[in-house]
């Protein structure tokens, strides 16, 4: 038990330290967490309400619900990729559970994402959209996505000390991934014959789920939920196992 509380304390301190160093030197401070989605919304509103119009109600809200999730994914993974390498001093000179380093990045981004979704809700109500009980599923769903993201982040962070190529590689790959997610376009425009391939992208699956919960307010398709759980559990467990098997090697070559 004491072991557990100590790790929780380390994790909270790491999250605090990460959040503080992100926002502390700015004039607006933590308000940035609220402003970022707000500004994004204004832009989206101008672009997709005035310039480009899709046949969809509240199209900017549709985008925002997905974009926040994508930002969580891309920010977390791109910050985690260096985490072991950047903290190699710490890894080599104090004894800490090294898994907690990428996980603290996941959690601090999760905190930011949580607040961004609160802004989303406020805008949601202001747009005159109707709340639905399906939204209750969103929080556990976000947590599930955090597990998936943690798995990917841990794996990237583990590979980086061995192969620095993983960083530019991941940048290109994640860009492709972005366009393969229904963020700026409706899922319906994906041609039917490609749908199975398209749904192999876990992030796309999660974004579909978020759309259904937060935008459409319908009961989420059970295949989407099952696929999300499957992706999260597999990715998380596999990457933790791979990490544990290669931890010593990584520490030595860092």
């Amino acid at each position: 038990m004491e072991f557990f509380t100590r790790h929780i304390n380390l994790l909270t301190e790491l999250i605090k330290s990460d959040l503080k160093s992100k926002y502390k030197n700015t004039i607006l401070g933590f308000l940035w967490i609220l402003f970022e989605p707000l500004f994004m919304m204004i832009i989206l509103y101008i672009v997709f309400n005035k310039f480009i119009r899709f046949q969809m109600d509240n199209y900017p809200m549709y985008i925002l619900s997905g974009v926040i999730l994508w930002r969580f994914f891309i920010n977390t993974t791109s910050q985690s990729i260096f985490i072991f390498y950047r903290n190699r001093e710490m890894i080599l000179k104090v004894r800490i559970p090294r898994l907690l380093l990428p996980f603290s990045i996941v959690l601090s981004n999760l905190v930011i994402t949580f607040f961004e979704y609160i802004v989303y809700f406020i805008l949601f109500l202001l747009a005159g959209m109707h709340l639905s009980w399906t939204m209750l599923f969103f929080l556990p769903y976000l947590l599930l996505f955090a597990f998936f993201t943690a798995g990917v982040s841990l794996l990237l962070a583990l590979i980086y000390p061995f192969f620095k190529d993983v960083k530019p590689g991941w940048e290109i790959f994640s860009q492709a991934l972005f366009f393969l997610c229904p963020i700026f376009y409706p899922f319906e425009i994906v041609p039917y014959k490609f749908i199975h391939v398209y749904l192999l992208n876990p992030v796309a699956v999660f974004i579909l789920g978020v759309h259904e919960m937060l935008y459409a307010g319908v009961i989420t398709d059970s295949t989407i939920i099952l696929n999300s759980v499957f992706f999260s559990v597999i990715v998380f467990i596999v990457s933790v196992l791979v990490f544990l098997m290669n931890e010593e090697k990584m520490v030595k070559s860092i």
């Binding site: 004491e2 509380t5 100590r6 304390n9 380390l10 909270t12 301190e13 790491l14 605090k16 330290s17 503080k20 160093s21 502390k24 030197n25 903290n87 001093e89 710490m90 890894i91 080599l92 000179k93 104090v94 004894r95 800490i96 010593e248 520490v251 030595k252 070559s253």
Partner: protein, 374 residues
């Protein structure tokens, strides 16, 4: 016995990539065994790359040995580097809590020791300052203050105390000694043989990942000194305009090993390359850290200018009086008659070793003292 760590035949090697596909295996630790008891300070000495830090890291649980066994009882607190885990963007106060968490404390515990830590570090007025504004000395203070209040069963210290001012360093060493008396076992790595000799109960000398010698501090330090004689540490370097050129140097004892009252005599042969009339000759004796012990020259010592010939020899001799045992280097130089511009100046061109005194005394020498107790 009160053993807190038992290390048995450990091995650890690194793969160092020398190219994309080529790698080299470095055996950092090559079958080391030792025990560590309560109330004991065990120091590890040896050249750079002899496996000292790796050994400490293994005892600290940071690295796992490839082979061998290690049993550690109780809390190990490693203090292996400056400000490890500190976040430069946070204040000193916030960093204490972060560091506490890294050391494995609950927030409550850190809160409990916070005041004592601040007091010990003597940084009370700076606790709300961002730590990136801190000097390295302040980093050490803060880090060490937290580490010392963690009440570890084993405290592991690697060289870090070298930074920071001497007064604070002494305070740290006193505190280390106090917690040692109270039961903490301490492992210590330092290149400062004076510190090692004064504080250690036992010393291990490592060479290429193996224990070369273990036991009484002064004995082991002596062996380390003897080892160094075969591998000079100070770099020879040469400068000057070249009108006078040093062509050879002889010492009166070919093995360069002297007792304290023995006369050390050196002959310096030179040749003249272009027309210069006179100049100054000087030499300096340096210890193995590069500290100049003395630097006599013919002008200051004897108000004498050397009349140069086309080829000639300067001979000088001196006694080392009561310098500590160890390795010393000799620098020789010819300067112009104003003693400002070098014709030929060669740093650390020769060396000699002193074996006279049994042990190394604090400082650089044994002062001839008369004691009177009334």
């Amino acid at each position: 016995m009160n053993q807190v760590a038992i290390v048995k035949d450990i091995y650890l090697s690194y793969n160092v990539h020398t190219g994309f596909f080529s790698r080299q295996v470095v055996n950092a630790v090559n079958g080391i065994s030792f025990n560590l008891s309560k109330n004991e300070m065990l120091s590890i000495i040896g050249h750079n790359g002899s496996g000292k830090t790796t050994t400490l890291s293994i005892v600290a649980g940071i690295l796992k040995p490839d082979k061998g066994n290690i049993v550690v009882k109780g809390r190990v607190v490693p203090f292996l580097g400056l400000g490890i885990g500190f976040n430069p963007e946070l204040t000193a106060k916030e960093n204490v809590f972060l560091y506490g968490a890294i050391m494995g404390f609950s927030r409550k515990h850190t809160l409990r020791i916070y005041d004592s830590v601040v007091e010990f570090s003597e940084l009370k007025d700076y606790m709300n300052l961002k730590i990136k504004e801190f000097s390295t000395g302040m980093y050490v203070r803060l880090g060490f203050s937290v580490a010392i209040y963690t009440s570890p069963d084993i405290l592991i210290i690697d060289e870090v105390l070298a930074v920071g001012d001497v007064r604070f360093q002494r305070k740290c060493l006193e505190t280390i000694n106090n917690i040692k008396v109270k039961g903490t076992a301490i492992m210590f790595v330092s290149h400062d043989m004076g510190l090692v000799s004064r504080f250690s109960d036992r010393v291990i000398l490592l060479d290429r990942g193996k224990i070369l010698k273990e036991g009484d501090p002064d004995d082991v330090i002596q062996s380390y000194m003897d080892m160094q004689e075969n591998s000079p540490m100070l770099q020879k370097s040469r400068r000057g305009s070249g009108e006078i050129e040093i062509v050879g140097i002889d010492m009166n004892k070919p093995d360069r090993s002297y007792q304290n009252d023995e006369e050390i005599s050196v002959s310096v042969h030179y040749k003249r390359n272009s027309e210069v009339k006179d100049g100054v000759f000087g030499f300096a004796v340096t210890d193995d850290n590069g500290v100049v012990i003395s630097g006599p020259n013919t002008k200051d010592y004897a108000n004498m200018l050397i009349e140069f010939k086309n080829e000639g020899t300067i001979e000088f001799s001196f006694k080392s009086i009561a310098l500590n045992p160890g390795k010393y280097f000799i620098t020789v130089a010819f300067y112009d008659n104003t003693n400002r511009f070098p014709y030929d100046h060669i740093d650390h061109v020769e060396y000699f070793t002193l074996n006279g005194l049994k042990r190394k005394h604090l400082g650089i020498m044994k002062l001839p003292v008369k004691w009177k107790v009334k």
